[in-house]
């Protein structure tokens, strides 16, 4: 899933300060399940902004609504009637949803209510960890199901480096060395000899360095009338 963290209330209030009617828009998918921008968080933020406004005697109106996914045009269209009475939207979706919103309703300023963090998983309730950088060329078949590009701080393809101490990465005692993990799991699978193989030079053009990426599937395109 995509994870995010709500911005500080003061930052959101500052962004919204010049708008009279502000809609806090939650997203019912990724940011709901990471507890950053679902309907409850949208209600919490709108409520907090109203309380702050009362306290600072501001003449602003904050309302809230949540759509199923902000990264789908059809789900965004349902808010069109609300926008007649909206001067700005605080989006509680990831950057994808927030940008979709801004593209669908270009006349309305969109303000990010949260920071999109990473693609990861809940390690336990309340703890999310990063697992994939979307490099576009997955190699975890050779690394025991562990992505060194994401989980090694240096993104090394030939680790571990000298910063690996007692199985931990030198950047933090909380972060295991990805290459130690790879080594240990390959050993437990009896596949340690995999590390003797020389991988071919990596083609990084599939990653973000080539600019924004896109996927085009001709077999899925809906035929539209000209």
């Amino acid at each position: 899933m995509i994870t995010g963290k709500q911005k500080a209330l003061s930052e959101v209030a500052q962004m919204a300060t010049s708008y009279k009617r502000v809609l806090v828009l939650g997203c019912g998918t990724c940011t709901t399940i990471c507890f950053a921008g679902g309907q409850k968080e949208a209600a919490e933020m709108a409520s907090s902004l109203r309380l702050l406004g009362q306290n600072e005697k501001r003449q602003q109106v904050f309302s809230e609504h949540t759509v199923r996914r902000q990264c789908e045009w059809e789900y965004l269209d349902e808010i069109a009637p609300l926008l007649k009475e909206t001067d700005a939207i605080v989006s509680l979706s990831c950057g994808v949803g927030a940008q979709a919103l801004a593209e669908r309703f270009p006349e309305i300023p969109v303000l990010p209510g949260l920071d999109t963090c990473f693609m990861g998983l809940p390690q336990e309730p309340g703890v999310w960890i990063e697992r994939c950088l979307a490099c576009g060329d997955c190699i975890i078949d050779t690394t025991a199901g562990i992505c060194p590009i994401t989980r090694c701080a240096k993104g090394l393809l030939n680790g571990p480096c000298g910063g690996s101490v007692d199985g931990q990465c030198e950047i933090s005692a909380d972060i295991p060395c990805a290459w130690q993990l790879i080594h240990d799991r390959l050993a437990s699978q009896g596949l340690l000899s995999r590390l003797d193989e020389l991988p071919p030079l990596r083609d990084w053009s599939t990653s973000h360095s080539g600019g924004p990426r896109r996927i085009v599937r001709q077999d899925l395109k809906v035929k539209k009338a000209p």
Binding site: L9, G28, T29, G38, Q39, A43, E44, L51
Partner: protein, 206 residues
Amino acid sequence: VATIVSTSRCATCLTCLRLCPYGAPRLNNQGEVVIAEASCIACGLCASECPASVIEFKQPGPDSLEADIQQALSQPSDEEGPILGLLCHHATLASLKEIDDRQVKIVKIPCVSYISVNHLLQAFELGAKGVFVAACTDDGCRYRDAVYWAGLKVNRARRLLGQVGLEEWRLQLYQLTPADSREFYKMLYDFGDRLGANPVKARGEN
């Protein structure tokens, strides 16, 4: 008793499955969350923690608490705003007749698990000048984990109150021994004093 999940709106975050102290939510063969009635004692914890609010009670449950708070705070009260008390049914046996209902509005709930952060913020928005949550003691609580979760929610709401410029102490979580009425009234006096309210009728008339 028991709860159901509205599967069409469920975001399948699996929170209920992970936090239920009774193991009542399970995954069916379609990967949907279902709540096993036989295991569910309707403590309300999953419903108040569900980020998509899709867990429904078969009898009035946490989803009616918002309306109860609205109702309580819409009654005539002192100019400066009343105190709202969210009181677990089991937390005290004290009579509430002495409470000055212009100063203190009490909403009784079957368990503090019913509460969510939004209820607490809502109370301040509706004009409460202070809110207390009265729970059982850890040993006295008849449900599992309820007080722990209530503490987390109260702390989160307090942080938010701080961010909007309200003093965090205006929201309190108390744990009470049911048989000790003096304890309940002492809590009420102390909180009322701090907020500048006369929580008890007899005192107000003096």
